[in-house]
C-alpha cells in the first residue's frame, strides 16, 4: 500500500524471484528428485519394484521441489551473497505494489497479510473436507466415498487443520501486530519471517499431492507401524508435517527474539500486551515441541525409505516410541492452538468492556502455566495403550492440574466483565462465545483426563467433540474475533457489522449444535474415523451432519462479507474504530513501511481504560468480583 506501482510491463515484472518462478522451479526440482530417486538401485531397496511405489524417489522429489521453490522465491540470494563474503544487510530491496505479496518480502505487515490469505485458503480446504466427511456419515454404511478415500479425507482434514492452523493466529496477527504492539519497526529476523510463511504454503501444497499418490490411511496422528505400511501417499504427510514443524520452530524463535530484543523503551515485561504473552508462550512451545515432531517424522521417513526399524517391534523397535515422541509434541501442539486464543480474548475484552484487563499478572501466570504444564501431560493420550499403568495417577493429576491455570484465564475474563460497560460489537461476540465453548471443551477435558472415565471415551467421538470445542471453539472463534477486530487496521476497511453479526450467530449456534451431540455419540460407542456405525445412531448423526452443513454455510457467509466489504463496498474505516488504547491503533492506516516515524516511548500498559475510582476516605466498598 506504500510504494509506487512499477511502470514496467507485466511480463517484465513476472521475471524475477517470485511465486511464479518458485512454482516452476519447484516442479522442475520435483522431477529431478523423482528421476534421481529412480537411479538408486540397492539390494535393500529391490522391493520397490514389486510395490510400484518408490518412496525414495518421492521423498527426493519433495526435497528438490522444496529447494527449487525456495530458490525461485529468492531465499538463497542472501545466504549465497554472505557466503561470498558480502556484509549483512537488513532488508531486501522492497518492490512496491501487489508484487510484494508474491515473493520474499521482509515487511512484517506484508507477511501478516500473506499468512491471513494463505491460511484462509487451506482452512477452506480443510473445512471442505469436513463437509465431505459429514456427507458420508449421513448414512450408516458407505455411500459416497470408498472406505479408503474416506480415510484419506479424514486424514487430510485433521492434518490440514492441525498443521496449518497452528500458525492460524501467530502467522497473520502476531506477525502483523506484535512489532506494532511493542513499538518495533520490524521483526528480528525478517527473512526468516517470510521463510516461515512460504514453508507453510509449500507444506500445504505437498500435503495436497497425496491425492496423486493414493492418499494415506492414518489420520493426523500417523501412528506407527500403520505409517510404515501405508501407500507412498504417506510420504507427503511426513514432508507436510516436518515442514510445518520447521516453520513453527522458526516462527517461534523469531517471535521470542523480537519480543525480547526489540521492545520500545518503557515497555517493561509488566506492560507487555497480553496478546504478546500469548504469542511468546506459544512460540516457546513451538521452539521446544516442534523439533521432536520433526525428529519423529524423520524416523518414519527412515523406516519407510532405508528400512530402519525404529517402530517395528518385531525388529528391535517399538510403536510406543512413535506414540511417545508424537504426543510429546502433540500435547503442546494442542495448547499452541489454544494459547493464542487466550491472548486474543483477553486482549480484546478490555477494549469492549471499557475496563482495564483485570488481573494482568494472574493472566500471564495462567498463560505461562498452561504452556509449561503442557509438557508433562502427554501420556494421557496413552491411557489405554498398555504403557506405564503405574504412572497413570500422576498423569491424571497433571492433566487435571491444567485446569488451574486455565481457570485463571476465566477468572481474568470474569473480573474484566464485572461492572463493565460492554459494547456488543462483532469481535466481542466472538470473545464471549470463546468463554462458553472453551468451558465446555475444558469440562469435557476433565472427563477425559480422569482415567476410569477416559476408558469409556478414549478414541471415541467424545474426544472428537472435546477437541473441536477447544480448538474450533477456542482457536477458530478467537481467529474470527481477531479478523473482525484487526481487519480495519490491516486493510483500512471495516467488515460489515450486520453481516458479521449474522455470521456470528449462525456459526455459534450451528457450531454447538454440531459438536454437542458428538459427546452423546461417543458415549454411545461410536469410535473416531469410522465409515460405518450402528443404524440406531443414524438420527443423531444426521442431525450433526445437517448442523455441520449450516456451520459450513456460515463460513461462506463470512467469505461473502469479506467480498462484499473489501471488494465491493470498500467503505474506509475510521483510524481507530474500537477506540482502543493499544499501540497498534495509534499508527496511521495504512501502517507506513517503517511503522513509527519516531521511537515510541511507553509509560503504561495498554489497558488504561475506565474511570479511576474517586478517592474515598473510608475503606472502599466491597466490590469483589468473585464468581458464585
Amino acid at each position: 500500500m506504500t510504494g509506487t506501482v512499477s511502470a514496467r510491463p507485466l511480463w517484465r515484472r513476472l521475471i524475477g524471484f517470485n511465486l511464479l518462478w518458485g512454482i516452476v522451479l519447484g516442479i522442475v526440482g520435483f522431477y529431478f528428485g523423482w528421476w534421481l530417486g529412480h537411479q538408486i538401485h540397492a539390494e535393500s531397496l529391490s522391493f520397490f519394484e514389486s510395490t510400484n511405489q518408490n518412496d525414495v524417489a518421492l521423498m527426493l522429489g519433495y526435497v528438490f521441489a522444496l529447494v527449487g521453490f525456495l530458490v525461485g522465491l529468492g531465499f538463497l540470494n542472501y545466504p549465497l551473497s554472505r557466503m561470498r563474503g558480502h556484509r549483512a544487510t537488513q532488508a531486501e530491496k522492497e518492490e512496491g505494489g501487489v508484487g510484494r505479496y508474491f515473493t520474499l518480502c521482509t515487511d512484517h505487515k506484508v507477511v501478516g497479510i500473506q499468512y491471513l490469505v494463505g491460511i484462509g485458503f487451506f482452512f477452506f480446504i480443510g473445512g471442505m473436507n469436513a463437509m465431505l466427511i459429514r456427507a458420508e456419515l449421513l448414512r450408516p454404511s458407505p455411500q459416497l466415498f470408498g472406505a479408503g478415500n474416506y480415510l484419506t479425507l479424514v486424514g487430510l482434514h485433521g492434518t490440514m487443520m492441525m498443521g496449518i492452523m497452528t500458525s492460524g493466529i501467530l502467522g497473520p496477527f502476531a506477525n502483523y501486530f506484535l512489532p506494532l504492539m511493542i513499538g518495533a519497526r520490524r521483526m528480528a529476523f525478517p527473512r526468516v519471517e517470510s521463510l516461515t510463511f512460504w514453508l507453510l504454503m509449500a507444506a500445504g501444497a505437498i500435503l495436497m499431492t497425496t491425492l496423486l499418490f493414493g492418499g494415506f490411511p492414518t489420520g493426523w496422528t500417523g501412528y506407527a507401524p500403520l505409517n510404515d505400511e501405508a501407500n507412498y501417499g504417506f510420504d507427503s504427510y511426513i514432508f507436510f508435517f516436518a515442514l510445518v514443524g520447521l516453520s513453527m520452530t522458526l516462527l517461534g524463535v523469531n517471535m521470542i527474539v523480537t519480543t525480547i530484543t526489540m521492545r520500545a523503551p518503557g515497555l517493561t515485561w509488566g506492560r507487555l500486551p497480553i496478546f504478546c504473552w500469548g504469542a511468546i508462550s506459544t512460540a516457546l512451545l513451538m521452539v521446544l515441541a516442534a523439533p521432536v515432531l520433526i525428529a519423529a517424522l524423520l524416523m518414519v521417513a527412515f523406516d519407510r525409505g532405508v528400512q530402519t526399524s525404529f517402530f517395528l517391534s518385531s525388529a528391535g523397535g517399538s510403536p510406543y516410541l512413535f506414540q511417545n515422541l508424537f504426543w510429546f509434541f502433540g500435547h503442546p501442539e494442542v495448547y499452541l492452538l489454544a494459547l493464542p486464543g487466550f491472548g486474543i480474548v483477553l486482549e480484546l475484552l478490555p477494549v469492549f468492556a471499557r475496563k482495564p484487563l483485570w488481573g494482568y499478572r494472574i493472566a500471564v501466570a495462567g498463560i505461562v502455566g498452561v504452556a509449561l504444564l503442557s509438557f508433562f501431560v502427554w501420556q494421557h493420550h496413552l491411557f489405554v495403550s498398555g504403557l506405564n499403568s503405574s504412572l497413570r495417577p500422576f498423569y491424571m493429576f497433571s492433566t487435571e492440574a491444567i485446569s488451574v491455570p486455565t481457570g485463571l484465564i476465566f477468572l481474568c475474563g470474569m473480573g474484566t466483565l464485572w461492572r463493565a460497560k460492554i459494547r456488543y460489537r462483532v469481535p466481542m461476540l466472538f470473545c464471549l462465545a470463546w468463554f462458553f465453548n472453551f468451558f465446555i471443551g475444558g469440562a469435557s477435558g476433565v472427563f477425559l483426563s480422569d482415567v476410569p472415565s477416559d476408558v469409556a471415551t478414549h478414541g471415541s467421538f467424545f474426544v472428537m467433540a472435546h477437541f473441536h470445542y477447544t480448538i474450533m471453539g477456542g482457536l477458530v472463534f478467537a481467529f474470527f474475533a481477531a479478523i473482525y477486530y484487526w481487519v480495519p487496521k490491516m486493510f483500512g476497511i471495516a467488515l460489515n457489522e450486520r453481516l458479521g453479526k449474522i455470521h456470528f450467530w449462525t456459526m455459534f449456534i450451528s457450531f454447538n449444535s454440531t459438536f454437542a451431540p458428538l459427546f452423546a455419540l461417543g458415549l454411545m460407542g461410536m469410535p473416531r474415523r469410522v465409515v460405518t456405525y450402528p443404524s440406531n445412531l443414524q438420527p443423531l448423526n444426521d442431525w450433526v451432519s445437517v448442523s455441520a452443513f449450516v456451520l459450513g454455510a456460515s463460513m461462506l457467509l463470512f467469505l461473502a462479507n469479506v467480498v462484499y466489504s473489501l471488494v465491493i463496498v470498500r467503505k474506509p474505516a475510521p483510524a481507530n474504530p474500537w477506540d482502543s488504547h493499544s499501540l497498534e491503533w495509534q499508527t496511521p492506516t495504512p501502517v507506513p513501511l517503517e511503522n513509527f516515524d519516531r521511537q515510541p516511548v511507553i509509560d503504561s500498559d495498554p489497558y488504561d481504560y475506565g474511570v479511576p475510582p474517586v478517592p474515598v476516605p473510608l475503606p472502599p466498598p466491597a466490590e469483589a468480583p468473585a464468581p458464585g
Binding site: 500500500m1 506504500t2 506501482v5 535393500s44 557466503m83 563474503g85 549483512a88 519497526r185 528480528a188 529476523f189 520452530t249 524463535v253 521470542i256 527474539v257 525480547i260 530484543t261 526489540m262 523503551p265 521452539v287 521446544l288 515441541a289 516442534a290 523439533p291 521432536v292 525428529a295 524423520l298 524416523m299 527412515f302 528400512q307 530402519t308 526399524s309 525404529f310 518385531s314 525388529a315 528391535g316 523397535g317 517399538s318 510406543y320 511417545n324 515422541l325 483500512g492 476497511i493 470498500r570 474506509p572 474505516a573 483510524a575 499501540l583 495509534q586 499508527t587 496511521p588 492506516t589 495504512p590 517503517e594 519516531r598 521511537q599 515510541p600 511507553i602 509509560d603 503504561s604 488504561d608
Partner: protein
C-alpha cells in the same frame, strides 16, 4: 489497494504513545543481541531434536523388542568415531579462537575460521566414509536404526551450522588488505553455537560408541 489512504489524526492518540524522542537506532549491539538470543533458542530446538534420538536410544535399548536391539556384530568402527569427534572438537575450538581474535583485534580471524571450516567438513566427510565401511546396515535392529538416523541428521545439522563458519571465512577473504571494520556481525554467538553443535557431536560419539 494503493489508492486508499486514511490520514491519521494526531488528536486521537492517547497519552501512552508517540512522544518526541530519539530516532530509531539499530546499533551493532542490538544485532549481536538478536543473534545471541536467536542462537540460544535455535540451540534449544536442536537439543529437543536430538533429545528425540537420545530418547529413542535409551527407550529401545531398555525394551530390547524381540531381542533385536543390538544383535552381535553391530558395532561401529571406533577409529572413525574418535576421528569425527576429535575433528568436531578441534573445529569448535578453532572457531571460538577466531571469534576471540576478531573481538580483541578486529582482524586475523580468517585463518582459524578456515581451519574450523575444513575440520567441520572433514568430520562430515569422515562420517560419510564410515557408512561405506560399517559392518552393518540400517536393517540391523534398533541400535542400527538409531545410529543411522542420529548420525545422518547430525551431519545435516552440522552442515547447516557450518554456514556461519563459512560466512566468517568468506568475510575474511574479502576483507584482505582492508585495515578494519569488516568483522562480520554476530561472530561470537555463531562461534558459541557451532561449539554447541560440535559438543552435541561429541555427545553422540559418547552415547553411540562408548555407552
Amino acid at each position: 489497494m494503493s489508492d486508499l489512504t486514511i490520514p491519521s489524526d494526531g488528536s486521537e492518540m492517547s497519552d501512552l504513545t508517540l512522544r518526541e524522542s530519539d530516532v530509531y537506532a539499530e546499533t551493532p549491539e542490538l544485532h549481536e543481541r538478536i543473534d545471541r538470543i536467536g542462537f540460544w533458542l535455535v540451540g534449544g530446538a536442536t537439543v529437543m531434536f536430538f533429545f528425540s534420538f537420545v530418547f529413542a536410544y535409551f527407550y529401545l535399548r531398555s525394551l530390547d523388542s524381540n531381542g533385536l536391539w543390538r544383535p552381535a556384530g553391530v558395532d561401529p568402527p571406533t577409529a572413525y568415531g574418535i576421528l569425527i569427534a576429535a575433528a568436531l572438537a578441534l573445529s569448535a575450538l578453532a572457531f571460538l579462537y577466531a571469534a576471540r581474535v576478531a573481538r580483541q583485534r578486529g582482524r586475523g580471524w580468517g585463518l582459524p575460521s578456515g581451519v574450523a571450516l575444513l575440520l567441520g567438513l572433514f568430520a562430515c566427510v569422515a562420517q560419510a566414509v564410515e557408512y561405506a565401511h560399517i559392518p552393518f546396515g540400517p536393517q540391523s535392529g534398533g541400535y542400527a536404526s538409531v545410529f543411522f538416523g542420529w548420525t545422518v541428521f547430525y551431519v545435516v545439522i552440522a552442515l547447516i551450522s557450518l554456514y556461519r563458519v563459512e560466512v566468517a571465512f568468506a568475510a575474511a577473504l574479502r576483507a584482505r588488505g582492508e585495515e578494519d571494520g569488516a568483522v562480520p556481525e554476530g561472530l561470537t554467538p555463531a562461534a558459541v553455537y557451532w561449539a554447541f553443535v560440535a559438543g552435541l557431536g561429541v555427545l553422540s560419539w559418547i552415547i553411540l560408541y562408548l555407552v
